[in-house]
């Protein structure tokens, strides 16, 4: 059907598309009290919310601190601390925005946005998590001597010490008082370094040292959070709360409370290949979600997809009274 020429300069003709255009409504109008409806809706929501809050309350699991972690699991703490010192921890090898580890950035089709933006929250795990906090203990000359010996040693020597300690701490245990006991080995000053750091952590001093390293007032918990997340203690607690990634954790909440259920599609992609095993899985999931979100927003412009509502005929359920009325009194 060819369009008729415009009736005047500002009007043009185009073909009627049922997924884009509508016909003018010439039917009946019924009384409608907007304010009354809003008021009733608000009252209903308030009653519902108050009821849910009274019956179910809300969860508030205490946060993990470096003190609670090192006290509950000193071996895991020591094993994590040594990886921070030798630069093999998750944070130490993360790449942007924390450090510039080569090859650590995720990419899709050769595009790596995090590499482009670079390091914005620099973390030197050996210094920030181990050596700098120990330097805040001036009344411990033995600790300062161990730190000085370690930092003055060549890199190869440092690597030999940390490797020996990692081997020894793998079979470490805890004494009756919960203190870490590591088998003897040729790990030089690393033994006293990690031992002192563990003691500092168990006293709670390390929590403060990690937070107040730059200023008195602080709200940035990046360093302690990443340190804690490098260990297995937090993971195990999350596993017990069905929060880990393979348990659809991002949409769950501690206990039996509903979490961010609206993230189900985002979480779904982490459960399926190749995203669940790819080293660039996060970026792949985000790329998929950005495309899907853009598609949802621009649905009115996408032929085929915008016809789904008409094809599905669910609208007949929504407007069933309207179609019944039409069946009784067809339009002309």
């Amino acid at each position: 059907m060819s369009p008729v020429a415009p009736a005047h300069g500002t009007r043009r003709s185009r073909r009627f598309n049922p997924d884009r255009d509508v016909e003018e409504w010439h039917g009946r109008y019924l009384p409608y009290d907007l304010i009354k409806e809003v008021t009733i809706a608000l009252v209903v929501v308030v009653i519902l919310v108050v009821g849910l809050a009274v019956v179910f309350s809300s969860p508030d699991e205490k946060p993990v601190t470096v003190k609670s972690w090192s006290s509950a699991s000193p071996v895991d703490f020591a094993q994590t601390a040594i990886t921070e010192l030798d630069g093999t921890s998750g944070t130490a090898t993360y790449g942007p925005p924390y450090n510039a580890t080569p090859g650590a950035s995720q990419s899709v089709f050769g595009i790596s946005p995090e590499s482009f933006l670079g390091v914005h929250h620099p973390i030197d795990t050996a210094n920030d998590y181990v050596l700098a906090p120990l330097r805040t203990l001036p009344d411990r000359p033995d600790v300062q001597a161990a730190v000085a010996q370690y930092t003055a040693a060549p890199a190869a020597q440092q690597a030999a010490w940390t490797a020996a300690y990692e081997k020894a701490v793998a079979t470490a245990g805890t004494g009756a008082d919960g203190v870490l006991t590591v088998p003897r080995g040729d790990y030089g000053p690393v033994g006293p370094i990690i031992s002192s750091l563990t003691s500092m952590a168990r006293s709670g001093a390390l929590d403060g040292a990690l937070l107040t390293s730059r200023q008195f007032y602080g709200t940035d918990y990046t360093k302690p959070l990443l340190f804690i997340a490098d260990g297995t203690y937090l993971d195990n607690l999350a596993q017990g709360q069905h929060l880990s990634g393979d348990q659809w954790g991002m949409m769950n909440e501690t206990g039996n409370f509903p979490g961010q259920a609206w993230l189900w599609l985002y979480t779904l992609w982490y459960q399926v290949p190749p995203m669940n095993s790819s080293s660039s899985g996060d970026l792949q999931v985000w790329a998929i979600m950005m495309i899907l979100t853009l598609g949802l927003a621009l649905l009115p412009f996408i032929p085929g997809l915008r016809s789904i509502p008409r094809w599905s005929r669910v609208y007949r359920l929504i407007w069933r009274q309207h179609y019944r009325d039409l069946a009784v009194a067809p339009r002309v």
Binding site: M1, S13, R15, P18, D19, R20, D21, V22, E24, W25, Y29, Y32, L34, E37, V38, L42, V45, V46, V49, L52, A53, V54, F56, S57, S58, D60, P63, V64, P97, E114, H120, G218, D220, Y221, L225, L226, I228, A238, Q241, L243, G245, M250, T254, F257, P258, Q260, A261, W262, D282, L283, T293, A297, L299, R306, P309, R310, W319, Q321, H322, L326
Partner: protein, 268 residues
């Protein structure tokens, strides 16, 4: 120092409220133009209607206003939490209850919003120049997800620790982690209680105004089952009814009618 002469001073008479409307020289004022445009686009009877088309007869229509109501409760309870500070709800029974109200209002908000979104999808509610209404709705949903997410990060408990350390990987992979640091509590709290609520409220407000402006989308025509096609229509070779529709005709169909009511509905 002033001297009282005893002469009564007469206060200047304020101009009548509609004085400027009668002055032709003020017609070009920006304020006058804006007012005229606003009133023309959204006259009071359209902004706050008392009639609606008969096809607006389903429970699905209630979910839009329920969503706005839940958002009002979210903001009200969040305001109380903001007034008392981020630590309050961890140490106070009353605070925990207000936090519970906040949590459950968010759950209700998302539930009603998602039902509303699906309902509008199956109505193809973008038809008849309502694309902007659909887009602002979808963007409101996406920004609301971000607002809720930063709320979970601002809880200062185990949940927020776990979510932040897990979510950082996805956000860092996009490069956004350079600016948007999910492990920075202070930054996330600011986003949660200031920036994102402002955006959500602005978007929802715009969305509701667009609903008032364009009205509720009419039902699909059913010419194959309910009599002949409307006057002016014909069947195309593909079976889809063809009609010559001036572009502006859609606007006419959505913006007004001779009886003073909007032609395509008024409900949110």
């Amino acid at each position: 120092m002033s001297i009282d002469t005893g002469t009564p001073v007469q206060a200047p008479t304020p101009p009548p409220a509609n004085a400027s409307a009668d002055l032709p020289e003020d017609a070009a004022q920006w304020s006058a133009r804006l007012r005229r445009s606003a009133v023309k686009a959204l006259p009071p009877e359209r902004l706050m209607p008392d009639r609606q088309p008969a096809y607006v007869a389903s429970w699905i229509y209630v979910f839009g206003v329920l969503t706005v109501s839940a958002l009002a409760v979210v903001i009200a309870t969040g305001t109380v939490l903001a007034i008392m500070g981020p630590t309050w709800w961890h140490v106070s029974t009353v605070g925990l209850f207000v936090n519970s109200l906040h949590l459950w209002s968010v759950e209700v908000f998302f539930f009603t919003m998602i039902v509303h979104l699906w309902g509008k999808f199956f109505m193809a509610a973008w038809r008849g120049k309502r694309r902007a209404t659909w887009i602002t709705g979808v963007v409101s949903f996406v920004v609301s997800v971000g607002a809720a997410f930063t709320g979970y990060l601002s809880q200062q408990n185990f949940d927020s620790q776990w979510i932040s350390t897990q979510a950082k990987d996805g956000i860092n992979s996009t490069g956004a982690g350079a600016i948007f640091n999910v492990t920075n509590f202070g930054q996330m709290l600011m986003w949660h209680i200031v920036l994102l609520p402002l955006v959500v409220v602005a978007l929802v407000g715009l969305h509701v105004l667009l609903v008032r402006l364009r009205g509720v989308v009419p039902p699909f025509a059913a010419p194959d089952e309910h009599g002949p096609a409307p006057a002016g229509r014909s069947e195309g070779p593909d079976g889809i009814p063809d009609v010559v529709v001036p572009t502006d005709a859609v606007v006419v169909a959505t913006n007004g009618s001779a009886n003073g009511h909007t032609t395509n509905g008024e409900r949110a």
